[in-house]
Amino acid sequence: MADKPQDTPNPPSRWRAFLVKSREYAPVWTLLALFLFFSVYSDSFLTWENMGNILNQVALLAIMGTGITFVLLTAQIDLSVSYMATLAGVVAAYYTAAHLPQPWPIVIALLVAAFLGWINGIGTAYLGIPSFMVTLAMSLIASGLSLWLTRGRILFDLPPLAETLGSGRIFGVKWLVIVAALTLLVGHLVLKYTRFGRYVYMTGANPKAAELAGVNTRAVITAVMVIAAVTAGLAGVVGIGRLGSATPTAFDGMLIDAIGAVVLGGTSLFGGVGGIPQTVVGLLILGVLRNGLDQVSVDIYMKTLITGIILLAALVFNILFAGRKEA
């Protein structure tokens, strides 16, 4: 129907309701289908140990994905998160090697990430640079700082806390998984049960309307960019603990997976729709897929291709059903 408003109610048609529902539940069906598939076709997939492996494999992505969820909900994007993670890891290791007392290296690492995230936010919200441009530049800056600090070497002096959280266990559960779960939980509580969380959703749903309702949308966008940077920094800090070293390119490759997981879960690239539960589903899809492909005898060189195709399918789906925003 044209833009011309007609004073007749728009009944929620069954077809439309079905589309909305499928959009919401498609990721869950995808996850279940993958899970069933691998359970049937592999003996080693459906074991307690392997389930633990999957969680462990997606833990870092989960920490990073929490922040990305905030960013996508405001209809922005952050392409610098993985480089921020690398940088935070490098900074933490660098100051540990410099014998700065603990936990200062970790605090500084997170502050550096927060500061760079703040610049991302200022550039996007106040200077009006598209977020993908600002964060693209920031990814080079973060990456450049990592290289400069390490002079290209690998750092082996790690904060003990990072080592514990990255590779330690408590009551048989990996700390890493606990940190990831807590990050997701806090993210969820903030988004669903705080005023700020509501502002995030409303800013993404219609930035102009949010501004008209007195929401400081620029501050909201700046805040989500800081949140994304800090969660990325946290991922970097615990990540070096898991790897046992900090390298200047340690987590750079996680970018696609981190954003992909969030989108796979069903959080809209156009803002306002989605959340942490969706991100959890997306993470599990990615985790099950990666892990499952290892368990069945698939050509190892096809793994990336298959993952890519599934990610593309999810994106297409996301775009198709985002059409309802225009309705």
Binding site: P5, R198, A213
Partner: protein, 510 residues
Amino acid sequence: METTAPLLELHDVSKRFGGIQALSGIDFDVRPGEVHALVGENGAGKSTMMKILAGVIPDYEGQMAWKGRPVRLRNPRHALGLGIAMIHQELSVMPELTVAENIFLGRQPLAGGVVDWRRMFREAAAILEELGFGHINVREPLERYPLGVHQLAEIARALTSGAELIIMDEPTSALSPMETQHLLELTRGLAASGKSVVYISHFLEEVTWVSDRVTVLRDGQKIATLDADQTNKEELVQLMLGKKAAFIEESYLHGRAVQDAHAGARPVLELEGLTRPRLFEDVSFQLHAGEILGIYGLIGSGHFELGEAIYGLLRPSSGRIRLGGAPLGHGPRRAIDRGVAYVPPSRRTGLFLEKPIYQNISLPWLAKISGFVPNVRKEIEVADQVTRRVGVRPPDPLKEVAFLSGGNQQKVAISRWLVEPPKVFVVSEPTRGMDVGAKEEVMKILRELSEAGVGVLLISSEPETVLAASERVLVMAKGRIVREFVGETVTKEQLLAAAAGEMATAATAR
């Protein structure tokens, strides 16, 4: 006019959208060389009928015949191929391209696979010359010309594509009076040269002037087809409205007495020399508590921007805004906290369509309704109260706004500001695109607010809207206040004349 074989005929055409009968049993025909107007309220079925004529809606019941032969249009391209072109309400032009490119959009003359620019410019100039607009330089970007020329480019495009029937949907709604006059004359000229036009408009004077016959639709049914010279505005309004509320009829037909009931009272809002270059200049006025002050202007007069400036969305370059005697700071948050409410001219801008009603209403008040953690139950309760007060249907705060009709969406936009009664309420175009009943309901809310002591600033480009409620009317043109009506009877014609008169002098002053 003698009876000739019709160019296009509809017989017993009906269309249903879900549970809504948009059109039922329509008989309609257009003769060669005729301007046939289609009038009716919003929702009467004009848009649906136009879309059937243009091939946008292929699945309707009933028959259509083109030049005596039965035809079923599959899509707009099919319609265009036969010779039916549509000029859209929202223009489909590319302002950055040249006038000529816009005329030949998608059909540029080619020479050896590349665009033959010389031929395109020549032919574009020829067609404009033919239409009486030879002074337009077809090599200039279209954006250098006013909206009237954009419309002209669309018409020229239709003609060069070989159209015999041109459907014009509200062609003059964004045009100045002079441009409107040109367009009307052009339309008559088209008819004289044998083309047929289906002319859809709200502006009944234009309709009776330009058309040969008028068909009136109401609630999806054809009420009458009349010879334009046998009817008049009053009769058309009667036919369009049927037995509906007398309210709008009155403001369509008669003047409205305005008086300054608040002379001497302390103003709640004062503007002093407010200026923002190219938008508005040296605007000063006072708004009193309990007053409804109308600001009328043609589109582009700066009156909507003035509303934005008062709400703190636009920073004026000079001048002062005082609320209750004290300067009003910048920004919507400040405005809200000081008791200024604002409803923007477009509902799409102001509402979150895919969010539930209660979230739309509570957003400005979240900090007050509940603390750090939003209390959803309380939000719903508050939303329920205010939406019941203004009569939002359905009265379900959990419903998404997108599911509401335009009028009810507007009521949601307004009801948000009843949570804490404002001191000043700036409403821009509150009843655009609504039916008579919904319009009256919205106006009633505004009147009740003013009776409760709220100063209402009613900004609109529809004279009826301003006249329906205002006690005093300011007319803006080219960013300035050009006329104030107080203590007299004002008619729609006077408003238009005040706004348009200034336009004419401003144009000649250049």
